[in-house]
Symmetry: D2
Subunit: 303 residues, 4 copies
């Protein structure tokens, strides 16, 4: 059978019982199970090397920089001068890598799954690029919510780089009003939080609920989104603060801060910053109708 | 077998031999073949009713308004007062529908495939909403390129709502320098053309080549893109003119023209207009490297 | 996209959540819903025209003669001279067609689903070949079990051409001890019954249970199987009688009766008759372990 | 996502551009490439552990004994007392295992692919069950055709356990008249050869051509077939000899030889032996129409 037809190893990502994406697998690097999740590291023809958790691509070599630049830089640049940063989740180390491109003093990364982080260090060096060895980094393996609820530390930016709120997984309680209140308490003056917030199309209800939940805790909350090909979706984020607004920025000052980021940006710039916050009417309409998620009544993906 | 698992009728859209999207089909409305293409009209669980040509979704009930608002309104609103409009392609009648929301005097729609247009009139009334019966409309069934090359008419806006340049199909010659020169000759002073231009990610080379080809003919050429879920991609467009620039607009005047559009806009507004033209660095970089397509050396999708 | 790659309309037959067969659909003839089931009539590249009920191929143009010859002729030829035949189910009319090739006097066919039978008459003439118009045929639309329980008629051969015992469907009660007792009461002296009995590999437990259930009612019960490609399986049947054994036949007499069948046989002959009853040790072993199905505790397919 | 739905790692076996079997993969044991072929060892939910070469299941834990019993025992038992056996191919070691259950003196196994045999020894101990360490075995890594053409040895049984004649692979020249003549020269008096011969349904032309080619070399040639679930097909074989006929056997003597096979048989017995040689009319008809394969005009699978 010809190379160009009939490939036999496939990753099928089920988005619902009625929709799936089929990706041919070129090489199979690793498959295993940590205490918390099933882990596959696969090289696909379409997206290159992929980290797959419980059957869903978390990030791909081919576009992880879109997701990670979009997650990290808007909050980091809206702050005047972030020095202390917390990352909740972020196993691959790519969020950490992006944070370290800024002139920060301390970053604490709190991930539940030590085995996963070790797999990422071993198999995904293109993602973390040595970030775990940076002396500014403190790595903790524990429940991120517990960490924020119990610590006395304050942070300039808190980044929530989490798996989706899939029913029955611990992530569900990292998208509730109670959790965002705990986050808010740990922000310094001028501080911001940002979270991934699922797709603004396929799970628009979930995005809208996450947005509303955050807006019920913070005076300033802004939704934005970016197209991430390997997620096969426009991907949502929410940034929030007591006092800083990513949509009200001085262009000259922003661009100066932007130019201080080390290395090349492949996705993000001033125009993209502004464009990401432009949500179309059908998204804005849904936000108006959505509810607030609480520990008693959390928000979950439909599957 | 439970309703929620194991659906048996599927549309599998192959994007390459290594990637496909699987969509469960709820109802099968029509399947047939015109002189030019295979036509399926299917109701999918994910996107509702879909028009599928030669195995590719052309538009879906669920998001056709994103594509059609993004194709039509930026060019129509950049023009001060478009009265005469030509649509090349546009079988579903939804591009026509969007054009007719403006205060136009005459619209000529030129589609190669009369059978297809008749199928759309019969099966897709949600798309065309009676547009074909509007007295301002003239409908021609012929080769769009031939029409533009032979007519003496001038148009304020020419909209190219075409199938992709798939190798071996007539569409290939509607993406070349010679064709765009023919388009340019038929624009009135202050006139604009706009074309769909394939995905800015999966076929970025093709998009970049289309952009460069248009930029070799027109003094002003602007690429933009919008996320269209059922295309499973960020979708590209190029707008071009001798004298009008969609990125240099007076906000107040634009918004006034915007408010004169009849009915509700679900995707497009002033913020979205500006956001769509923000192309990320990885797209801009590819545009610099791309070539120009000619009748002798046209641009085609890889499959 | 080339004809030979990338076909977009597929029938996916899920055999379990872990296994499915994908068949490209060349033409879509009919899709609809009767009072009892979902009906698709599709032309597949691999098997030609197919009748699909609730997502499962019931029979295909390309191999329906294997199934129907294997179902009908062993029982009909084991009987010395069958005159009165009952078919329970058999919507397509192909079982009827095969029965009418014998020198019978009366055939009653009892199918629950009148709409389905009408669709088969309209769309599957290759299957029934005018059988429904034969003056020897009486067609009843009612529950087959009720018919057998209430009628006073006796039959020489009763053929159970049923859908699989899928949980929640009425077929489940056509595979129980109580039902087979009702069948037994309606057989004349020297009479035989035969039923389809699902796959002897993928649902071997179910086959073995059906066999044992029948063997608990009839002194003589014989399992056999034949390979039916479009079922992607070796397909099981059980024949039963008070007094006739399909494995103890006079070869010369059998061959004479065989030669009296009208028209050409494509699958069945004397050697195949004997071969079908040779069940491998792994099937025989499972039969020893299986239970008996009753109305209170019926046997169902695992999905 | 529930365990029972939405599994993400799949083996898709393409049988043609229009048909494929999807099998969910439970565990991924090994993936790599030898000098000759791509090798995957996967644990599927449906068939357990599978050896997959170039995307096609060669044998599965769940049914390899059907294929290997059907390949080996008919020829071994038709011979009165086979002492010297040659196996061409047979990488997994399961054909060897079955041969060693007979009272043989010497077995030479000739496989082209040393790396594959080593992988099978390491990963498929359930297949070979120590057979490679039996002192009666001589293992050669070389072209099987070259071996037979150059050796002076004679064999009582020669078993051709080959990959399918896929265009462009070396196997193609192990299904030609010239090759079978070389085989014939190496058989002792009373000796037999047997070969796998692809599906008697999906590639019936190929089976029929292999049969006819063998029948053009040997006075006695008999086709037979057995259902192998993981091949999703009825699988064909051809046995041939100058003087021994597997269809003309003394039942008592056969059964005595059968009882001398060490260990339990799960698929094969006297009834199955006879049943396998019963080919239905549609197969016999195709054999009459088929041609003879030669080195100049070999027979290949359609894909």
């Amino acid at each position: 059978m010809a190379e160009e037809f009939g490939w036999w190893r496939w990753l099928i990502q089920w988005e619902s019982p009625y929709r799936a994406d089929m990706l041919a697998v070129k090489e199979h690097v690793y498959s295993g199970k940590t205490k918390y999740q099933k882990v596959d590291i696969l090289i696909t023809y379409t997206y290159g090397k992929c980290l797959v958790l419980d059957g869903k691509i978390q990030s791909s070599e081919c576009d992880e920089w879109i997701y990670h630049e979009a997650l990290v830089h808007p909050a980091m640049l809206t702050h005047d001068d972030p020095k202390r940063v917390a990352i909740i989740g972020g196993g691959e180390g790519a969020t950490l890598r992006e944070v370290l491109r800024h002139n920060v003093e301390q970053v604490v990364m709190v991930d539940l799954d030590e085995e996963l982080v070790n797999l990422c260090r071993k198999y995904l060096p293109e993602w973390n690029k040595g970030a775990f060895d940076d002396p500014r980094v403190r790595l903790l393996f524990m429940d991120g919510r517990k960490f924020l609820e119990e610590t006395d530390e304050e942070f300039d930016v808190i980044i929530l780089d989490l798996t989706d709120p899939v029913p029955g997984t611990p992530s569900v309680f990292l998208y509730t009003k109670e959790f965002y209140s705990a986050v808010e308490k740990r922000l310094s003056d001028g501080g911001l939080m940002v979270t991934q917030a699922t797709s603004t199309f396929y799970s628009l209800d979930v995005f809208a609920t996450i947005y509303n939940t955050i807006a019920s805790v913070f005076p300033i909350a802004r939704g934005y989104h970016a197209y991430v090909p390997s997620f096969e979706a426009m991907w949502g984020f929410v940034i929030a603060s007591r006092d800083k607004d990513p949509c009200v920025l001085d262009e000259a000052a922003f661009k100066e801060r932007l130019s201080s980021i080390k290395g090349e940006l492949r996705f993000y710039n001033w125009e993209i910053h502004r464009a990401m916050f432009a949500l179309p009417p059908y998204v804005l309409k849904k936000i108006k109708e959505a509810r607030i998620a609480t520990d008693d009544n959390p928000v979950c993906l439909p599957i």
